[in-house]
Symmetry: C2
Subunit: 211 residues, 2 copies
């Protein structure tokens, strides 16, 4: 059933997961679609529809068990197992990803960091050594790497994406300001464009409300 | 007309802007809805519909003038004027935002950076001095601050959001992993949750395709 979830629902699931984690931290065990919708700024009927599409979890008149629902969504999102990541390169965004404690808490473990700059290679970000890009092939051969985080300039993104796909890495989290696509492969790519959300804020400031 | 653009269209506009900038850099002057749709992974009819809702820009049979369309979307997004930003605090994400050259290119100018940590206050990120949070009130009184970038832990986010709103800042770009809302004010808030897009990637790796 998780194979047939719409793009819009998938994009809302991390929000449900975050709010359910907060409810759990607040010691709340049960939540209704009304309450969850109010927290998320969505209608109760959209909440019920979204949660039905990932497997239900609710009981008519009783609402949702917070922990069970959180774990159910975590399972659909693949957060009930760990993922290993490498980060290319160790610039400002790559370093922020390496240092951000939230990813590790959700099971995303950075196991390597790579750069081409002689000033960076050999130094560290937190506890993580910055390796030479020349060692990438060997590292990927010796370690299970689930995700390559690309934090490279736009001009280098397509070439490095091709390189990591050729090495057999099956998922790319791309911060370069280009939309990466790798045609005719089962490689999964998500583009994380920081500018996009800043531009949405700028829109709201300039052109008013979103309908 | 920009007042009546749906949330989904607004979220796609930065993508159009990015692709049009790329086309411009490639020296391409005219683009059809077919070509633009192919680049963005969308149908030509959705492209025409989206662009109509922000004001047209196309001519039947001629397609779109790349520069004119880019500038038109830039205008709707408010990218034809500059915005000043302050960043709170100077941790990994705050520092990445301060260092990232793309924001400045799009007219988002960081004019101040604040922290509470005695180790950080007085040092710099790039050329930017890190000021004491105690100076925030005075700084906001003395300078025009359009946007507060919150890169604080979840536990501090709501309190600091209230503080910047009380100081009269009208827009918040929030990186803390909570959904900030400020009720009953015209303050604009966009939540940028890095984990969300990583979780979408994890979903794709775990549960397969999005429909």
């Amino acid at each position: 059933m998780a194979d047939h979830i719409s793009d819009a629902v998938v994009r809302r699931l991390p929000g449900y997961y975050r709010h359910l984690r907060e409810l759990e931290q607040e010691g709340i065990n049960q939540v209704s679609s009304q309450e969850l919708g109010a927290r998320m700024g969505q209608t109760p009927s959209l909440v019920r529809q979204d949660l039905n599409s990932v497997g239900g979890f609710g009981r008519q008149g009783y609402g949702y068990d917070v922990t069970r629902l959180k774990e159910g969504i975590g399972h659909v999102l693949g957060l009930d197992h760990t993922h290993t990541m490498i980060i290319i390169v160790a610039g400002s965004i790559g370093s922020a990803v390496a240092r951000y404690p939230g990813f590790l808490k959700e099971g995303f473990i950075t196991i390597g960091m790579f750069d081409t700059s002689p000033e960076r290679v050999g130094s560290t970000v937190g506890d993580m050594a910055i390796r030479d890009m020349k060692e990438l092939d060997r590292f990927v051969a010796d370690n299970t790497v689930d995700i390559a985080v690309l934090a490279v300039p736009a001009s280098a993104a397509r070439e490095i994406a091709k390189q990591v796909v050729d090495l057999g890495i099956m998922a790319i989290w791309n911060f370069a300001p280009v939309d990466l696509k790798v045609a005719d492969t089962p490689v999964k790519i998500v583009n994380a464009h920081l500018s996009d959300s800043l531009q949405v804020l700028s829109f709201l400031m300039t052109s008013g409300e979103i309908e």
